[in-house]
Amino acid sequence: MKKGLTWFNITSIVLGFAFLYIPILLLVIYSFNDSRLVTVWGGFSTRWYWSLLQNEQLMDAAWVTVRIAFFSSLVATVLGTMAALTLTRYGRFPGRTLFSGMIYAPLVMPEVITGLSLLLLFVAVNFDRGFWTVLLAHITFTMCFVAVVVQSRLVTFDRALEEAALDLGCPPFKTFFKITLPLILPAVVSGFMLAFTLSLDDLVIASFTTGPGATTLPMRIYSQVRLGVTPEINAVCSILIAIVTVVVIIASVMTKRAENIRQAEERAAMQ
């Protein structure tokens, strides 16, 4: 196989990306549609974005969702990083197979099962459902995604620096924060972002585990979508898409730059 693309390769990529992006583009375009009929173009307008700001229910739901996503992904990042260290660094210990099973299973577990089982747990221990139960549920399923992302960085990690620090008498705790963490930081950051967007996005698990006063944005969107497509929902979705796109692009540029600096420093240190 020679390097380089055949016509078949180029067509696959173009068609694949068209398939991935055209539906999203259409959704964004039609959020600027003046007509209330979502499929008939009635001229350019931003009025649905303005009417969003007056929709208190949606704004409340958005605020609840952002708070849950932020706090749950913070905790999930810490727990997931610990889990990743456990999987890659600590060799064998009793119950390791069970542990790795509990990390990988939630990645593919159908959401209806996770949601139902967490709800029944909260009922069994008599925990009032609402903000906190959704938070706990989100930490639990997103920490596994963080663990996988951080673990993939840890396995390709050169341990010589860590060992040098330890040999020079640096305590393990300090070694982790001075050496290991800065080196795996890009993976930790992308783990955090993944956890954040997964939480922002979750409908099923939140619907099962929530209670009065904690309606999340996906739950609001879902209940409106069931009644049909509206330009207002197109507008909410477009805003969410814009936020996520900007955050992902900034983060990837930042991690790329951090990676380049690190590599340059490592090269300098070698000389």
Partner: protein
Amino acid sequence: MAMAGEKGRGRWFVIAVPYLWLLALFLAPFLIVFKISLSQDVVAQPPYAPILDLSQGWAGFTEFLSGLSFANYGYVLDFSNEFLEAYGSSLVIASISTVLLLLAGYPIAYAMARAPRSIQPTLLMLVILPFWTSFLIRVYAWIGILSQEGLLNQGLRALGIIDQPLEILNTNLAVYIGIVYSYLPFMVLPLYAALEKLDLTLLEAAADLGCPPAKAFWTITFPLSLPGVAAGALLCFIPAVGEFVIPDLLGGSDTLMIGKSLWTEFTVNRSWTVSSAVAVLLLLVLVIPIVIYQNIQQRELEAGK
């Protein structure tokens, strides 16, 4: 394994915190689901019986045990209740979708792996980006495209290809489109990871020895990409079996999928015990693919060391 911190208290702390968290919030809930699947619905709070009452000691425990029954499983497995049909049709829909995903994902991943090194990160980013945007939004976007007056029908009519609008939304076809669309990044990424590692000298050797490209693909490239195929297929198949949002928003009233049945049983019929039995049986159906998936992940982890 020379890190001093691997022994001592720090190590146990790092292991114990996530371990206990997952035991309490991932494993324990399954045991509770299993227990409730053996209970009966009652009008009370919580809405099931029996409840384990340890204050009465051993007598309370035996009374609790004698109150458990497999009645809910009988109900779920009864042909007249459509649950069996829903399990069957979920497996069929997920299998067909996985095959479609492989057919769509393989050429994309293959082309990405062959693209110049300099643009590969950008291509990878473009595949991942839709995955970061909300799943619900991506499914919703298709409603506006596939409906009777939707953009697809408008387009096809403007081009004079059809006279009557096609009925796609609220059919199984829409469910297939939704699943393939939403899960495509999950298929492309493991395939790309496998194809990107491929040693190109093997293919050069084959070409030098006169092996035609198509034959080289089937005897070298494809077999070597099988771990990626397996990981991608399982990553799509397992969640697709229990999918709820896609059949609910894009499927019709005759689209039977077990995730939707479980949701309806829980939210409409409000039977916690029957939903638990449905969940336990769904887990039994999925336990073999989940274990295979974990073994693949575990092997990847060991190989990375």
